[in-house]
Symmetry: none
Subunit: 222 residues, 2 copies
């Protein structure tokens, strides 16, 4: 997927784009409205991440003209916490979702996935695989029909893995997605969560395979 990030804070912009690249997305970065407009006119994007406060104007005006020109690229608005009115107003202007700064990168990634999924026409968000039903919106899972309550972290870990079955996730990668910068956790934490998730998945056909020195992978042993 190709994203356009419109954000004037260079540091934050770098953090976001590197995080998005972890997910395999291509990110192009504009620091102001002028550049953003130029980018949109010349390229096609799957998603736009739009900061509201920009040096040369209000992000909402961009959003407005963007929608007015019949472009239907989904937009997620980034706002500061205090500017609640911005979030609400931007929804009216056609934003697909908003995230308040400071935000968890894991959360932003989740929102992006949700928006893209919604846009793909799949209003059906429930993922079924190997005897597991997973509903990220409801935060619920059922294994062989039996409902299982997952905790916050377990949920997010499962969401990561199940969205890319068969892919190898290094512990570093998982750690990056599950935790934010400032809290530095030991790699063992990941091992623990993998174990907990494994227990939940035990009755199903989904197995988490360990690849020594490489990471983990979700497989379907049907």
């Amino acid at each position: 997927m190709k994203f356009l990030l419109v954000e004037d804070n260079q540091e934050l912009a770098h953090a976001i784009s590197s995080r998005m690249q972890l997910d395999g997305h291509v990110v192009e970065h504009a620091s102001n409205l002028k550049d953003a407009t130029a980018f949109v006119e010349t390229g096609e994007y799957d998603l736009i991440l739009l900061d509201i406060m920009l040096p040369d104007g209000d992000g909402r005006s961009f959003l407005k003209t963007h929608r007015a020109s019949d472009l239907d690229t989904p937009v997620i608005v980034l706002t500061a916490r205090s500017q609640i009115s911005d979030r609400i107003g931007s929804l009216d202007l056609g934003a697909d979702d908003y995230v308040t700064k400071p935000f968890d990168h894991a959360e932003l990634a989740a929102r992006c996935r949700a928006v893209l999924r919604r846009r793909a026409g799949k209003s059906q968000t429930i993922i079924r695989s190997g005897g597991v039903e997973f509903d990220p919106v409801a935060g619920s899972m059922a294994v062989q029909g039996q409902p299982v309550t997952l905790r916050n972290r377990e949920l997010r870990l499962l969401e990561l893995l199940i969205n890319a079955p068969g892919q190898i996730f290094s512990k570093q990668k998982l750690s990056d997605r599950l935790f934010s910068y400032d809290d530095d956790v030991s790699e063992n934490a990941i091992e623990v969560y993998i174990a907990r998730l494994r227990k939940h998945l035990d009755p199903s056909d989904l197995k988490i395979t360990t690849l020594r020195g490489l990471g983990y992978r979700l497989d379907n042993d049907a």
Copy 2:
């Protein structure tokens, strides 16, 4: 499907119609009651999205004459965030559903689908679930047949939850929906209202589940 959108705010109108077009619908747009009447007399629509506050009158009068002339096109009313009392009348006048601004476009789309789907039967606004009868217009609720009077905030909270049962609402989302921009309330306020609503729902099968770190969810423990 062919929709008629009656809305004087041009930006919002454009946002809505472009969104609806994404879903493959044709949208015609009237900015006032006069135009709306002309549209309805000349064309056939599958659904009407009707703003209440219009430059040349109250949308409800349009709704009334519309119903009086035996047209059974479903109508979804768009109202500003306000007291329940403001909405009284619109559903009595034959609206099929209403959405309060500001709204998620995804939510509006969902309401549209719901209205069109249940159009086969009768227009039904009272929600019955798990021993609870909820009438959002009258602002009344009954648990196991016993009438319960809810306060304004409790009503709006219940309304949010019951319209999307099984979905997780973060505290921030609930806060955005329940309160307006200028008053910034602590997250604890949400917790308090959840508790108050829980007490009311106690005799019923509807339970509000806490998902630590994620939010709340309305479940039916039938």
